[in-house]
Symmetry: C2
Subunit: 66 residues, 2 copies
């Protein structure tokens, strides 16, 4: 199931990797695609939306639309 | 020996950690202090200046004064 989040504060490739691995820790099968200039994180996962958003927030990023 | 570098491109805490660990890989005894808003990396190390600059560059950052 494709789910898109708007995420503020990702400034570099390290941030992309931090967000990606937080999601994959929650769901190792998840596919993650990040469009940093657009602040978008696209996740293909069957995990609930609020759990995915929480995993991103715990890395220190603001999820402004979810 | 205190050595100060001006480093461009450090955007977040992950970047600070990447620069710090690159330096500590070269010299585990090094003390590293980073002033990100000022783009400054202060290193207390007896390693030669060019080796320290190279370690920072290899992490993908531009050393503009060294």
């Amino acid at each position: 199931m494709n789910q898109t989040f708007t995420v503020q504060g990702m400034t570099c490739g390290h941030c992309e990797r931090a967000v990606t691995s937080a999601i994959k820790q929650l769901d190792p099968q998840a596919e993650v695609r990040i469009d940093r200039p657009q602040n978008l994180v696209e996740v293909n996962s069957d995990q609930p939306r609020d759990k995915l958003a929480e995993a991103i927030r715990e890395e220190g990023y603001a999820v402004t639309s979810s």
